[in-house]
Amino acid sequence: MSDTPQKEGEFKVKTAAFEGPLDLLLNLIEKRKLFINDISLSQVAEDYIQHVNSLPTYNMSDRTQFIVIASTLLLIKAKSLLPTISLTDDEQGSIDDLEQRLRELELMRRLGGIIKDNYGTRIIFPRGEIKQTIQVFAPSQDTSVANLTEAIHRVLFSLPKKIEPPKVTVKKAISLEEMIGNLTDRIQRAVRISFKEFSQAHKAERVHVIVSFLAMLELVKQGVINVHQENNFDEIQMESHDIGIPRY
């Protein structure tokens, strides 16, 4: 469904070494040698969402963060596909914000490269140990069993807990394929359906809304359904061209 055919497993390698949602997005943009703007973001949106979809389900916390950014990409995509859609200030804000963050991360990556090139090439060394001629014993006022016991407990208290990815903290997100199938079913049953109604019918968490919205846009792009929005802020109406569409 993307412009360029995706090789299976292309993201698998990436997943092993992934840094995070911004990192992935920036990689996608840089891979296509694009500048950071709404056009490039709209172009990489599908690749990005495909990746989100392929993320291992056990790492839901990470996945949620990926999906938050995916939702912004969807807004950008929606705007490019449906020019009648007008974005709220908040939505426009999150788009601008995402672009800023990408630019800043891009800058930091570039600076990281400079650090890499210079690190350890010319070192300023500290003064060497001077031999202490007089061995003194100089305990302080606060060198006491009570203070030291308190100190060791402070140390124990601030030991980091086991380092592992947070276990499932959000409910399993519906996969993209599931949602597309679901959407098609719904469309077949009711020729006209509002997007809002659709997502509410699923007691939608944000993740669901995003995924279903994407699915809708995909169908629009494939020419399977028409989307109408009479006025800004009106319900988006979806309508099927052909009841006998093949299932995804």
Binding site: E19, G20, P21, L22, D23, T64, Q65, V68, I69, G93, S94, D96, D97, Q100, R101, R103, E104, L105, L107, M108, R109, L111, G112, G113, I114, I115, K116, N118, Y119, G120, T121, R122, I123, I124, F125, P126, R127, E129, I130, S158, P160, K161, I163, P166
Partner: protein
């Protein structure tokens, strides 16, 4: 040691002696206390010392701002190859991608909070920060605004490995500051501070240290 016992050292010379003796980062505040001069006199004398050391084998390193300025003496970066050749120790020069990114943020943007680092990187930086702290490449202090939150800044160890006496000597420092300032302004304007959903849970825990 005859007559020079009576010779009065200048503030600059006294500072040089103290920094040599201590051999570790020393604050302007401490110097002011040791010498009985106000902080401005110390700052002025440090400028003279920096100048005097220009053509020596040692340099004056400096970091921090305001009351928290710290100084330390180190060998001239131009002597690096020579000393590396003498030392038998293996110096680690490997930094991973996450470390480089985090160091760049802290060097060019620090001191800043972990939540700010997380926001720029888009991932939780708890463990890379811990790693860098353990390696002595960064330091943490309580935030001036909020004692319960920690801010991270570059250490002399880091500046030393980059061969710069102070952070301002880093490549493109001034122009990058300009760029970063623009980000800041925009961020404030949008007031899109990291939201709860994007913040990891352990933050509160760490700031309690």
């Amino acid at each position: 040691m005859p007559s020079d016992e009576q010779v009065q050292l200048s503030v600059e010379q006294k500072i040089e002696a103290i920094l040599f003796w201590k051999g570790e980062p020393t604050t302007i505040k401490e110097l002011s206390k040791f010498l009985g001069f106000n902080e401005q006199s110390i700052i002025d004398a440090l400028k003279d010392l920096e100048e005097s050391l220009k053509h020596r084998g040692i340099v004056l390193q400096q970091k921090g701002t305001g009351h928290d300025i710290e100084v330390q003496l180190g060998t001239s970066a131009a002597a690096s190859a020579l000393i590396e050749q003498i030392t038998k120790d293996e110096l680690s020069k490997d930094l991973g991608k996450a470390a480089l990114e985090t160091l760049a943020i802290i060097l060019y943007k620090g001191p800043l909070k972990r939540s700010e680092i997380d926001y720029i990187r888009g991932v939780n930086s708890t463990f890379i920060i811990r790693n860098l702290l353990i390696r002595g490449l960064i330091e943490k202090q309580p935030s001036p605004g909020d004692q319960r939150t920690m801010v991270y800044s570059s250490s002399f160890e880091l500046l030393s490995h980059l061969g710069v006496a102070k952070v301002e000597d880093l490549p493109d420092f001034a122009s990058v500051q300009e760029e970063i300032k623009k980000f800041k302004e925009t961020n404030q304007e949008l007031s899109h501070a990291p939201t709860d959903g994007q913040q990891p849970a352990e933050q509160a825990q760490e700031s309690a240290q």
